[in-house]
Every structure is written in structure tokens, then in C-alpha cells.
Amino acid sequence: MPDMKLELQVNGRKVTRRADPGQRLLDFLRDELNLTGTKEGCGAGECGTCSVFVDGKLVKSCLMPAAKAQGADIQTVEGLARPGDLDVIQKAFHKTGASQCGYCIPGMVMAATSILREAPEASLDEIKERMGGNICRCTGYSKIIEAVALARDVVTGRASPAALDPETVGDSFIGHNVRRLDAPSKVTGRLKYAGDMVMPDMLHMAVLRSPHAHAEILSIDTSEAEAMDGVACVITADDVPGKDGFGVFVHDQPIMARGKVRHVGEAVAAVAAEDVATARRALKKIKVEYRELPGLYDPEDALQPGAPVIHDYAPDNVVKHIPIRKGDIEAGFAAADLILEDEFTTQQVEHAYLEPEAGLAYVDADDVVTVISPSQNITHHRHMLSEIIARPINKVRFIMSPVGGGFGGKEDMIYQGMLALAAMKTYRPVRLVFTREESIIASAKRHPSRVKYRMGLTKEGRITAIKFDMLSDGGAYGMSSEGVMRKAAILSCGPYEVENLQVDTTAVYTNNTPSGAFRTFGGMQAQFATESMIDIAAERLGLDPFEIRRRNMMRAGSLTHTQQKLDSASIGRVLAAAEAASRWEPGAPRMRGPERGDLGGPGTRAPCTLGARFEASKDGKERVA
């Protein structure tokens, strides 16, 4: 495509550039003008991190061709305040602690700016409605909304500008709302995440991923891709010089598929080229011959005799089984007045950190292979990579870049190895930035779970025995499955002293997207089941849900499920605190909603009718909105 001459205003200055007419405005701003405060969270108009003003109107720059901006007046987050300064909205974000990882924040600041420009008196509901197109995965939105309301009040004169000042410190910095030190760089878009970093002579990487869930690789032919203009190297498993394999517990995952692929989206080969477009074109020239194998998609199937084997080292497909035993469950159930049995399931969950995986690697002057990435565990990555590339540990260096959200999903070394190999092969810096789709198919998810539960209780609500059996789909690789099963087992029966219990947690291999670390590491899956059971027990026994919990809770001196003696247990205090704060009206959980007197008071919001997820019911008669 011939270049076109693009003339526009950006942050008050005239800009003239030759540009590819197919380029998105987002890329033009980031790649041509280095305005990297505008982020790419999804590339599909669904997250708002790329928001900019075009002729005063807030638009998602990932959806707008640069050519359409011909003659337009563009404002990005970098143009809101003078360099080094913060505007009112940015100061309000700083004050309330609205930025956490910061990746959504430039987009949030832009959306807030648009609100205060168009509707300076916006109500809280209107603020929420207008921010509805911007996703934040870290903050739960509360402090962002608080910041916008604070800025609104300062702008409209309802609050004094002093409301934006830091809180004065008393006699200690501990327990004090010190404002986040990294907030100014986040609210201005100044902070450079890995995908924003460039190095001289840098190559760009693209990754060929498996279209099959389970298949043998018969051959890979990279010759045509390698011969392409602008391609610096193509790497496959054959380029790994050392002992290939990584994982948080078992090292069962190769840097790139070795001999077979085990899930859709698994890396098979990677290209490093002068630009991303060339690298992506080169992927199409790599020829891979596959022979499809029968796959496993349900954890129950994985345990059947004769099931396909995903990893040779684990012929039973079990990643890890953790047993916990305490007391005598037969006796415990025999002593029960009430025995409840039930089953609970939880789904696979995507981390959805707003920053897709990204990284840079280079070999430095001392021959140290260096990787910069938003990894949650560079210590462990360094150990693993040193074995994989067969270099001494001090010749492998990991540098952490700002992490745009992790939640456990950036513990797995799923791309840093490829970057290192390409840098070693070319002796040039190499950068890789995942697309959102790539991030979703290649990264780990929260373990789905199926729990079979049996609980025995006395009439008074004391638990006499628990039998807890959890099966989890670990997906194609081990990643954190072992640890997740361990934590799920240890925490399984909740903050209660249970004398007789039998707990088993098992994760198995399948050909689904791998499951891995995700905030709570199995703890929420297990305790969802337990807390549901306790509520069912309270209903059956006619007990208040706080009361039944108090009757069973751990105390100082209690033995945990793993028979550890506790010196203290604050469960009684947090139960009392939640009960008091919520003004809880006691009673058994027997569909009391219609009669309760404690509903709709302080601490609740009005039901939302704006932009409700359901516009109309199926017959079209009733409208929620």
C-alpha cells in the first residue's frame, strides 16, 4: 500500500508524517509519535484503554484508521496537563488512590475528562454510566468513581481545591494514607510498560500457535519464512540448547511445542523480523505437518482407564492429588443428626489483566541474556531459563517491567524463553507484544472445579464430619496446579474446627487451555462449596448464618484441618465486624428477603437501571431500563 501524507494536530502541535493508510490511529500515535500513554488493551473497541479525543469527541483509537484523522485535532492523555504537571482529574486520581496497576488509567482519565467537559454536574449514576465502556480489572472501580466525583466537585466549586492535597501526617507513616508514589506517572500515561519500550535496532516477534488441541508434529519447515526479506530469524524447539521445560511446580512445558501440541494456542514457532507486519506475514510461510490425536476435554474422562495420555511422565493424567485426613469420619457421620450431601462447580476464569503479555530480550556486552517483562516471578524465571539455555545463572538476567495487572496470570514463563532464544540467535533486541486474543488462548486460567461434599452436623449446628472431594481440570500443562490443589485442600473446610475430615483434591491433564495461578490459588473454589454448605445447614437447622459459623469457628488453640495448632484466630472478630457494619438482622436463611428489615440502608446503592445488561425480556414487553 502506498504511504499517504497525514497532517493533523496532536496535543496542540501540528504533525506531518507519511503513514500507512491502513494503520490504526492507535498505532500511529504509539509507533510514529511515541505517545505510549494511549494503551492497547483489546484492539477491538471493548476496553477503553486507547481512548483519545478527536475534534473534542472521545473515540477508541484502536477502531479508527489513521487516515480518517486527516486534518483532525487530536488530544491524548499526554496533552491534558503541562509536562510534569497534573490536571484536576489526575490530581483527584492521585488523591483517592484510583490507580493500581495503572494500565487502564490513561483511558479512565480520558473518559473522566470527557464527562466533566460534557456534563460537569454529572450525578454518580451518570458518571458510572459514562465510564461503563472502560474496563478496569484491579480497582473494582470504587476509587476511580470517587476520584471523578471529587474532581467534579472541585471543578464546580462544591469542594475546595485543598481537597486534592495530601493528608497531613500525624505521628506515624504506618496506618496513614500516603498517596501512591507511582500514581503521577500512571495518571499521565508516562509510565512505560514493556510493550511501550523500544531499543535501538529492535526486532519484533510474532508467534505461530497451534490450531489443534492435541496433535503430533510430524515436521516443521521454516525455510521459506527464513528467506523472507526483513526476517532475522525463525525459532522452534530445535533452537533450545539446554534442558527444555518450565512450570511453577513440575517443569512439563517446553518453550515451544516439542514433538506434539497439547492445547489450542500453544506456541509452535516464532519469527523475529524488522517489523510486526513482516513477522506476521512470515508466520504464514511456516509449514507444520500435524497428525491429530484423540483429545481430552473433561477432567472425568481424563481419569477413565484407557484415556489418551497427554504427558508420558503421567500415564494416569494426574497432575497432583493432595489428601488430608483428620480424626475418624465414620464416627463423625455416625454422631451426626443431619447429613447433607451436595455438589458444587466453578468455571474457568480469565485473568483479564488489561496489559497483554509483552517483553523485550537482548544479549548485553557481557554476554548476559537479559529479559525485561512484567513477570510476577523473575527469580524463578531466571533459574528455569538458565537451565533451558544452558548458561550459568549469572549470565541470565531478568528485569521486571511495570506490571499492568497479573492476579497470578503472569507467573508462567510462557513467552520469555522465546524472546531469549531469538535474542541469542540474532544478537539484537527483540520485542514481543501479545494481542488480546493471543493472551486469552495462551495464558493460564483459574482452575474450574467440581466438589462433591458431605457434611454431618448435630442439631445444635456443630459440624461432626466433612468429606470433601474436588476434581479440577488442569488443562494441558502443570503450571501451578500442584500448588493450587494443595492450597485448596488445606483451606477446604473453611475457618471452622472440624474434628473428623477427609479431603481430596485432584488436578488432571486435559487438552483444554491450561489452568494456573489465579488470586486465591484454589482457596475460593474450595470455600465457595463450604460456605454454601454452611448456609444450607443453617437453613435446615433453623440457625442464623452468623450463629452457626460462630458455633464452629476456629479459636486460639484450635487444630486446623492439617492439625496445626493456632495461637490466635480472628474469625470471631471479623464475623462480629461484618454483622455490625451491615446491621444484620438475625434469622435462619429461609428466603427471608421479603420480610427483612435491614435492606436498602446505608452501604447500599440504588438498583441500576441505566445500561442494564438486559434491554428487554424475550417477549419484548417489559423493559428493565
Binding site: 471493548e46 500516603v178 480469565e350 483479564a352 510476577q376 492439625q563 471479623v574
Partner: protein, 338 residues
């Protein structure tokens, strides 16, 4: 049943702090630097929770300077002491305590010099917010002056610290063991409204009481609770990563539904402090525990509102409607039988 039904539910939880069923460790270096500032170097990973600010507060408190005077070195395996990963709700506990210990050592070097300079006992020295005093005297100077004096006496006030958490492995047969040395507990109450026509559930209020040991930065803790609650709400009501024969059918945010500002309840955080006796700071953690009780509290609230139990997450409108229909059929059959 009326169209809009409300209810409340509660769920409790517990959680262990730092790595599970193993020894955990972290190291840090500190230096009281010119101008009464400080350098702290440790392998910390800011993943958004605000750990850098927390460490700056801890260093400032320990050294007697201000948080903004603290520079925290970047995490780099070739330059910083090992402090391991950002996960397991371990950074405040593990790295916070190692930074405190490193700062104490640096400060004791400085105090030894100033005590000699003033000819007082080092135990009488107190520093806060950039000012240094000898208790029971009129002697005072700034921390900038103090560092200058120490250096003129030939001493660079540096310190190193490391912190250990003594978890033990689990017995392979009965699972017995002491996986953590510090535990936290939490309780959440959810108030919901269920639209029985559309099946949609809205969470209107959420009260979250969590023991965090000792609060370092209240807003930071609230931010963790709010973020955790909303992730828990997403998992409770809408998020669902799906595959068919291993191929995902939810490959973008149009298909994979996440909570937005419109889904968020009013969240009331109650911070409970049961200090950890085994560490210098007493702080424990909040990152992961914040979301453990959210989904069950919401499911229990749905039951309180409409009398159905959703045992399979997420409680999508379709599932809620199906459960209502099932309950109505059950109730009708019971009535017919009576």
C-alpha cells in the same frame, strides 16, 4: 413472587500468608543517603497493589524520614537481593519485614555515629519525618545533617535484612503440617436484588470485614478489597471462560463478560487488626483473601431473595431463571400432593 426480590447472604473465609507448606524468604538492602534520603533495594514486584508505596512508608517509619525521600530500586535479578514472587499474599509480609530489618540495621549504624558525636546513649535517639532528636535533651538536627556527620566520621549507613516464614510441608498420607505461620480471616455480607423476569442479579451492597494484621495504608487495603470483591462478583455472576473441544469460544471482551462500573455495589470495608506476633511489623496481607468470600456471600443472598440455590458458578440470568422455574414446578407439585 414479585418481579424484584431482595435478599442478603453472608460468607466467611480464611487464608494463609506467604508461600504454602514451605519456608519462604526475602531479602533487602537499605542505605541512608545524602540529604536524609534513602535507597532501598529488593526484588519486589509492583503488580498494582501499591507495594512500592507500602515499602516506602515502612522504610520512612523505620529510618525517620519521609516516604517521598525513599527510592526503591528496580527489581532486577542481577542487581537486587532475592525477594521472590508477587503472589501468595506475601509481599507486604515477606518483603515489608525484610525492608524493616534492613532499615533498622542502617539506622543503627547512623545512630551509633550520632550518639558518639553528641555523646549520648544511642537508645535516646528518635527520628521521624526527617528530624532527629535525643530524648531528654535539646539536641536536634535534620536527618540530612545526621547522614553528613556520619559520612564525615567515615561511615556509610547501610543495612541488610532478610525475613523468613517457617511453613512446613504436608505429610503425604494425612496432610498434616503447618503450612503457614500467619493466618487471616474475613467475612462478607452481600445484599442483592434479583429480577425474577430477566434473571439478572445486581449486588447493591457489600460489607467486607478482613483481618490484615496491621494496616500500613488504609486506602491501599480498601483498594485491594474493592478490586477483590469485584473480581469475585465477576466470577459469581458473569465471567465464564468456555472451550469447545479445546477451542475457546470466549476470545475477547465481547464474549468474555467482565464487570464494569455499572455492576459495582457500594462496598464498605472494615479493617480488623490482629497483629502477627512473629514479625517485626505485625502486618499480614489482603490481596487474595479479599475475594474468597464474595461469590458464596452473593449466592447465599440470592437464596435469601428467591429461595433457590445456585451451586454452579456463574449465576447467569439463564441459570437463575431455570432455577426459578424448577423451584416453581417443585412448589406446584408439592401443593398438588398436599
Amino acid at each position: 413472587m414479585q418481579r424484584k426480590m431482595r435478599g442478603r447472604g453472608v460468607a466467611a473465609s480464611w487464608y494463609g500468608i506467604a508461600r504454602t507448606a514451605t519456608v519462604d524468604r526475602a531479602g533487602a538492602w537499605a542505605e541512608l543517603d545524602d540529604g536524609g534520603t534513602a535507597k532501598v533495594v529488593t526484588g519486589v514486584t509492583e503488580i498494582g497493589e501499591g507495594i512500592l508505596t507500602v515499602l516506602a512508608q515502612i522504610a520512612a517509619e523505620e529510618l525517620g524520614i519521609r516516604p517521598e525521600d525513599v527510592t526503591i530500586g528496580d527489581n532486577d535479578t542481577a542487581r537486587s537481593p532475592e525477594a521472590a514472587h508477587a503472589g501468595a499474599t506475601r509481599q507486604t509480609y515477606m518483603i515489608g519485614n525484610s525492608v524493616a530489618l534492613a532499615c533498622r540495621e542502617a539506622k543503627s549504624r547512623l545512630f551509633a555515629e550520632i550518639a558518639a558525636h553528641w555523646e549520648v546513649d544511642a537508645g535516646t535517639l528518635v527520628a521521624f519525618d526527617g528530624a532527629l532528636k535525643a530524648h531528654g535533651t535539646n539536641l536536634a538536627m535534620t536527618m540530612a545533617e545526621a547522614v553528613d556527620i556520619a559520612k564525615k566520621r567515615g561511615v556509610v549507613p547501610v543495612g541488610a535484612g532478610h525475613f523468613t516464614a517457617h511453613g512446613t510441608g504436608l505429610n503425604p498420607v494425612d496432610g498434616s503440617g503447618a503450612p503457614w505461620q500467619a493466618y487471616v480471616f474475613g467475612t462478607q455480607v452481600a445484599e442483592v436484588e434479583v429480577d425474577t423476569l430477566t434473571g439478572e442479579v445486581q449486588v447493591l451492597g457489600l460489607w467486607a470485614a478482613h483481618d490484615v494484621g496491621r494496616v500500613i495504608n488504609p486506602r491501599g487495603v480498601e483498594g485491594q478489597i474493592e478490586g477483590g470483591v469485584v473480581q469475585g462478583l465477576g466470577q459469581a455472576l458473569m465471567e465464564d471462560y468456555r472451550t469447545e473441544q479445546g477451542h475457546t469460544t470466549t476470545h475477547g471482551f465481547a464474549k468474555y463478560i467482565l464487570p464494569t462500573a455499572l455492576d459495582v455495589p457500594e462496598i464498605t470495608s472494615v479493617l480488623v487488626e490482629d497483629p502477627d506476633p512473629l514479625s517485626p511489623l505485625g502486618a499480614k496481607g489482603i490481596g487474595e483473601p479479599a475475594l474468597v468470600p464474595t461469590a458464596p456471600a452473593i449466592m447465599n443472598a440470592i437464596h435469601d431473595a428467591i429461595g433457590v440455590r445456585i451451586k454452579s458458578l456463574p449465576a447467569t440470568p439463564e441459570k437463575v431463571l431455570a432455577a426459578i422455574a424448577e423451584k416453581e414446578a417443585r412448589d406446584a407439585a408439592r401443593e398438588a400432593a398436599e
